[in-house]
Amino acid sequence: SSKESGGDGGKKKDGKDVITVWSYPHYQENPDTDQKSYEQHLVELIKEVEADNPGIEVKHEILSWAEGAKKFDVALNSGNPPDIFFSVMEPKYIETGLAVPLDDYLDAEDLEDLEPFAKDTFTSDGKLWAVSQWISIHTWGGNRAMMEEAGADVDKIMKDGWTWQEFYDIAEKISQTKNKDGKKVYGFATQGKDEETFTHMMRNNGVEKTISEDGEFHWNGDKAVETLNFIKEMMDKGVMPKETAGIDSQKVIDMFSAEEVGIYGRTGPYQVRFNDNRNAEIDAGKVKGEKIDFVLLPFPHNEGEKEVATGGGGGMWLFKQKNYKGDEHTENAAKVLKHITGTKSSVTAATMFIPPARKSGQEMYSDLLQLETDNGQFIQRTLDYVVPGAILDPELAQKSSKVLNDGIKPKYQGFLAGELTPEETVEQWTKVADSVLK
Amino acid sequence: MAEVKFENIVKEFEDENKGKVRAVNDASFTVKDKEFLVFVGPSGCGKTTSLRMVAGLERQTSGNVYIGDRLVNKVHPKDRDIAMVFQDYALYPHMTIRENLGFGLKNLKTPKAEIDAKINEAASILSIENLLDRKPRELSGGQKQRIAVGRAIVRNPSVFLFDEPLSNLDAKLRVQMRVELSELHKRLGATIIYVTHDQVEAMTLGQRIVVMNGGEIQQIATPEELYENPSNMFVAGFIGSPPMNFIKARLDGNKLHTAANTFILPDDKVALYKEYDGEQVIFGIRPEDILATKLLNKQPENNVVSTNLKVVEHLGAELLIYFDNGDDQITGRVSADAKLKALEPVELYFNLNKMQLFNPDTQERI
């Protein structure tokens, strides 16, 4: 039985240094399209690195999305994290003292190859904490046919963006219609579980950060009230479901697929691939439903404000264990990390129709990325101005997440449920923010 | 009016292994109003089952049960105006004794003060005052049984059903309870049906006694009648302690030949049995009709048997003596004054005035 991995990686087996890698099942095998699964792609890379380094053995585990992070949390807090772990930016990992900054292990070449956005996403305290795998752009999504019926110039929107008013007019028009089952159609839908959509709208209303690096809270003023009022009006007018408070992202997609929604947020480039697959299945008669011409849409911006695209990305982190296993082990782990995040690894992003973080990868898999399509061009355009979410030093990040969990999220939910007015909402979360940040 | 009447009652149980078990077979009898009727019979003969049918806890397979004038076949136990003492006590384990006693009254919405009074009364009758606040599991077997009796007493119904209520009590309390029950009976004017296997209880308490065996009623009669004129060997052997002696014999004019002796019948008996002259019979004689000749003022002329005693048991005022007569073992009960000893020879007089004869085939009394 193999007792090595995760927790106590690094034990020598046959004299080999064992490196553990934990990641997630980003995509499955698809026999119809000969698409390999993420794990198969990863294993290929691992095989290569093992072949190049006979002293290293790599054990990998594909966690489940549902509870993987929690498993990692337990392992990390037990002092036994895997050597390499896939995650988005999490300042709390840095604070544990077990995350290893990568600056010393990466060559200038590598750093050069990475898109600046990808580096920014994982830079904190001036150090790079993970090698990003891709640039995950946050966008809205739309049903081209429905939008055009409502008089929208979709191509133009994708190219030049749109204002709140333009968006509102189109959405309102769509919400006047009924779908083929005779059900009411909404112009816009989004999940009401957290404040994500609101964040996106705030960024496009001139407030880029909730909390700035100097610890100041920016969601305390008229801009926030204005944005909330905009959302409120959409709900009041039936442009957006008044039950938004109880709608989750799965439900939003379900509604979109059933043509009950014209525009929704948030989604991302990966949805293009899902939609293509779904259309193919409908063609093949495997799935019943209407084919949808799916388009990625930019976030609308308020009149006079700059359009801001948001993005993030996941990357591979390097960790050491509490009972430190020596520099050699860390170096070996870094070697593995470098290889499995190398140019070839961009296949992962490309398979999901997400722009890889490496420029070399974008080139290598350009055919997979279908950059010539409307959605592809939109992605390329967006890459130029996308900014990461707020990166704060770990301590401030901790406070920020407290403000979010104890103030913003619950109050925002209260607002969506119609229990708080926009003014009350802002007032109340500002109070929480003040007390946390003081 | 609380007459209880059984009319051709049959009760069958479904047994998983053995199919139908007939526990009571075609039983008919009437318990008169205010009568004290006792059921006796060997274990498993259907006494409890009969009682339960009166209570309405078991519904008869066929036949009718009346209480008073009322056909109660279909009346719920609580509407039958009865109280019952269960053989296994069936005390409510979680209630104190006080609560156990008061439960029935509480259900009948009796005022609190009255309940208390009745409980105290019953408690003093049964001398259980000091147990009132205990739980059943803290009591000894006999104490539990007294509580079970108390539970019936406080209810004061028109028919009392007792299933061996005294079997676990000590002799003294038993006598006391017997008298209490007797008085209760008189005082309350209630009809009582009482199941027991105790001779003395049956004979002293019962105005009439029902003897059962194997689900069938053998005889219903007053204690004297039962004792003096048992209708068959079963009854004769069952009533009386020690039981009647049965000796195989042959009737021959005024003589009765047993394996070892020949007895001379009194004249009235000769007349009575003349039809059976020359036939094989079973000769029944009760232990107390076997007397030590040395205690007799007048020495009898015949029917004296000389034998060696096998066993002698002391019962205070009396002796139980055991000796053999051919294959039959015979028991006698003589006054302790006779001072008999085991293994010593003795002369015993068989008083045939109260003898019985039975048909060896039908076992009926002749």
């Binding site: 193999s2 | 076949n73 005390l91």
Partner: protein, 298 residues
Amino acid sequence: MELKPATDNQYQIKLDEKKDLQRQAIKKIGLIIIYIFLGLWAIFTFVPLLWMLSSSFKDSSAITAVPPELFPTRPTLDAYKRIFEVGGLGRWFLNSTIVAGISTIINVFFAALAGYAFSKLRFPGRNAIFWALLASMMIPGQVTLIPLYILVVNTFQLENTYIGIIVPGMISVGSIFLMKQFMSSLPSSLIDAGKIDACSEFGIFWKIILPISKPGLAVLGIFTFVAQWNNFFWPFLVTNTNSMRTLQVGLTSFRFENMQDYGAMMAGAVCSAVPMIIVFLALQKYFLRGITIGAVKG
């Protein structure tokens, strides 16, 4: 012995018969009401499961159909095919069976042993120990997770082994508590009888207490089995190869980041329910037996 045909008597009989008929009727109606109510309640509790079952036969579009279809219009076995195609389903089943089976046996045995000691034996410290056990149940498991993980994985090195999965669940205070409650109503005199019959202390437990505790053991058995079978998080923490995964851990691979394979999840849930239903049906016949009846009087 003949019947007195007094008119009020006849009337009374009629009345009684009427009352009895009424009672029978009430009983019958009561029974009918009971059946109807239980039936409705069963449907109530069934709806979620029915949805689970029917979803497992739907294609992905039908699952998300608005309005939802309670019964699939185009039933398909695709979801089942998907979960069977993913490697390791059989292995996961085997692992779950081993883990749940062994934990159940150990758990029930220990619980019965300790429950017997706590309910029927008298020894110094009995109540204190029992309360210590009980109190531990009252602290939520979240905080002991890290220490426990350190203990099992770092200290005992039991990661990715059956023992590692089973060990923390080998005793459960709840089970001990249940057995204690159950056994407290068994008649103590049977234990005395066993002592007289030259039975060892363990023999009394094994040959007398266990057999007459069958209803309790069966109940505890099914509870434990179900709990262990459905146990997800701990096996997920301590396993790291596909071959060691239990069914519940394995089935989570049908939950993806931006989309869930509902059909497969539901098919998985259905598959995982089947063994438990079998165990339930196998054990349920013991539930109702009042097995001690007839042991003692009074």
